[in-house]
């Protein structure tokens, strides 16, 4: 149901919801960026819609709400193992259309590939998603190429225009709270074209695995893993046990984000490691996003948000890589 209401009413409504939900949205952190005078936009808790950065794309994705960077799974004592408690409150997350598709990728890995992940599920089941529309495409976005520029799979869509707020609700709680407000048809803003266009090769022949094409990435990539960490669809983690320095008998098991670009990711018994070459790591990541995942699960993993291109300190472009790969594939076949 679509509504037109006021910012004051909406803020009051969210204040009410905050009794049961922590509300997360992209916020601007002034001067907090990598370089001087550069801001970062990342997810944080909000209490007022005015805190949300609607006009720009967030540097970091929403995924950390459902997959904390470091998450405690268990606490240990001498003879006991205790599952970490779930957060008491649910969560409400503001995100873009492409990100909603990213959510599906997380669901696939954490709920469908092998056993259901209890920790993910217990957060996911209590999270509501609010779409932020895109009036214009941002730098490096290529959602149209990936077919992720539009989604109806949200709990609500919210657009703030000065003191007016437009809401499209798929959530009974909002419908109830907005009873009596002016009803109207609300269609979420979405882009119809991006400056960046990618063409994904149907299948990448294995002969290209050894192509000198990847060497260029081997020389440029510094294995910082930033492209993985900002990606809403990167799902990898490493297990870590720690014990408390003031009480060696107690400790905890955590999972922390991992990255296929950084050293140590494949280190194995005997000191053997796969993909020591950074170019081969780039190949692994790229094909995971636009080839392997699709063969297994039926859709591309990449959702075209372009955050990897935004963040790379070496100006490595994933989008260019796909397009060049497409050309090479055509030559190969």
């Amino acid at each position: 149901m679509g509504y037109q209401t006021t910012l004051a009413k909406m803020n009051a409504l969210f204040a009410d919801l905050s009794k049961d939900y922590v509300i997360y949205a992209p916020k601007r952190f002034v001067g907090d960026g990598t370089f001087v005078n550069i801001d970062t936009i990342r997810y944080g808790e909000i209490t007022d819609l005015a805190e949300i950065e609607f006009a720009e794309k967030s540097d970091y994705s929403f995924k950390e709400v459902l997959l904390p960077i470091s998450e405690t799974l268990f606490y240990f004592t001498e003879n006991e193992m205790k599952e970490a408690d779930a957060p008491k409150k649910g969560a409400i997350v503001f995100l873009r259309s492409c990100d909603l598709y990213g959510l599906k990728r997380l669901d696939t890995i954490y709920l469908e590939n092998g056993a259901v992940d209890t920790y993910y599920k217990r957060l996911r089941d209590h999270t509501k998603f609010i779409l932020m529309g895109c009036e214009n495409s941002f730098e490096n976005c290529f959602c149209v190429s990936m077919g992720t520029q539009k989604s109806n799979d949200y709990d609500a869509y919210i657009k703030v225009e000065g003191h007016t707020v437009l809401v499209d609700s798929h959530w009974d709680v909002l419908d109830t709270a907005l009873t009596g407000e002016a009803q109207t048809i609300v269609i979420a803003d979405s882009v119809t074209a991006n400056e960046t266009v990618v063409t994904i090769p149907e299948t990448v022949p294995q002969t290209l695995f050894e192509s000198p094409f990847w060497e260029d990435y081997g020389n440029r990539c510094i294995a910082c893993g930033r492209c993985n960490f900002v990606c809403p669809t990167c799902t990898c983690f490493t297990m870590q046990d720690i014990f408390y320095t003031d009480n060696g008998k107690a400790g905890e098991r955590r999972r922390v984000w991992a990255s296929c670009h950084v050293d140590g990711y494949t280190d194995m018994a005997g000191g053997h490691a796969f993909r020591n070459d950074k170019g081969q790591r780039m190949r692994f990541k790229v094909l995971h996003k636009i080839n392997d995942y699709k063969r297994r699960f039926g859709s591309h993993m990449c959702i075209g948000c372009g955050r990897c291109d935004d963040v790379c300190p070496e100006y490595i472009s994933f989008a260019n890589c796909i397009n060049e790969l497409n050309t090479l594939t055509k030559e190969e076949i």
Partner: protein, 265 residues
């Protein structure tokens, strides 16, 4: 909550410890439930972490885990847990299906600790030699000091053909020397185009052995391999073991070569 937590380990009693070398022991663990050779458990040690370890033997109410002391978790197991119990979760992975090999001539080639995940197959056919047309175990260790499962060898040799070799002999050693590959042409296989091969070991050893097996006429579809990769979860989540669209922990670690050959890191 209705979903059982797949990360929760269970406590399992160590019923026996068999010492093979200074750094390799078999821990016989209490375990009730179905398990196949080639599957693995995550051995979990609170405060130290987890390590995937293959099932090296299946008993009545027990599974054997042959562990090599190489790092954080395994060091701690050797130092503090002998005689007590360990946390486990699993079994994970697909394991070897013995039915694929029944009634056939079988050649199993293993390198070092690579014998662990396939030892259940050797145990089975040496106890049921009538279930196959012939069984050769070809296994290589680095040196006589590194030989595992010495007692089992005595038992196996009665019923199956066993060739054991070491890379570097030392004074007083009178067995076979050299790499496993050099013995392949000598193995009495009557119909190599129908025989099944099972190959497990370090990457280089697997590569050379496979080349040699093809040279003597083995068919790709009759060869099975087991892959080892870094694993952090064992249940298709952490991503470390993924190659192409395959998760070694879910779809493997055992693969028919026709599938396994496409797994390029």
């Amino acid at each position: 909550m209705t979903v059982t937590n797949p990360y929760t380990p269970f406590l399992s009693k160590i019923t026996e410890v068999i010492k093979h070398t200074e750094i390799e022991y078999t821990f016989r663990m209490a375990y009730q439930g179905d398990v196949l050779p080639g599957q693995f458990f995550e051995v979990s040690l609170p405060k130290f972490g987890e390590a995937p370890i293959s099932v090296s033997g299946i008993g009545d109410g027990t599974v054997d885990l042959t562990i090599r002391k190489v790092g954080k978790v395994t060091n701690e197991i050797f130092e503090n847990y002998v005689g007590d119990s360990l946390f486990l979760r699993g079994p994970y992975g697909n394991g070897f299906d013995i039915d694929n090999y029944k009634g056939k001539e079988i050649l199993l080639v293993a390198g070092g600790t690579g014998l662990s995940p396939v030892k259940g197959i050797v145990d089975y056919f040496s106890a049921h030699p009538e279930d196959c047309q012939g069984f050769t175990l070809l296994v290589g260790f680095k040196s006589p000091k590194d030989v595992l499962f010495k007692k089992d060898f005595e038992k196996w040799e009665k019923n199956i053909n066993v060739i054991m070799t070491v890379d570097t002999p030392e004074d007083g050693y009178c067995g076979k020397c050299g790499l496993v590959t050099q013995y392949i042409p000598e193995i009495p296989i009557n119909h190599s185009d129908h025989a099944v091969g099972i190959v497990v070991g370090p990457p280089m050893m697997m590569k050379c052995t496979l080349t040699e097996l093809f040279n003597v006429g083995f068919k790709e579809e009759n060869i099975w391999i087991s892959q080892e990769r870094k694993m952090c979860c064992g249940i298709g989540k952490c991503g470390h073991c993924k190659i192409d669209d395959t998760y070694i922990c879910l779809d493997g670690p055992v693969f028919n070569y026709t599938k396994g050959k496409f797994l390029k890191d």
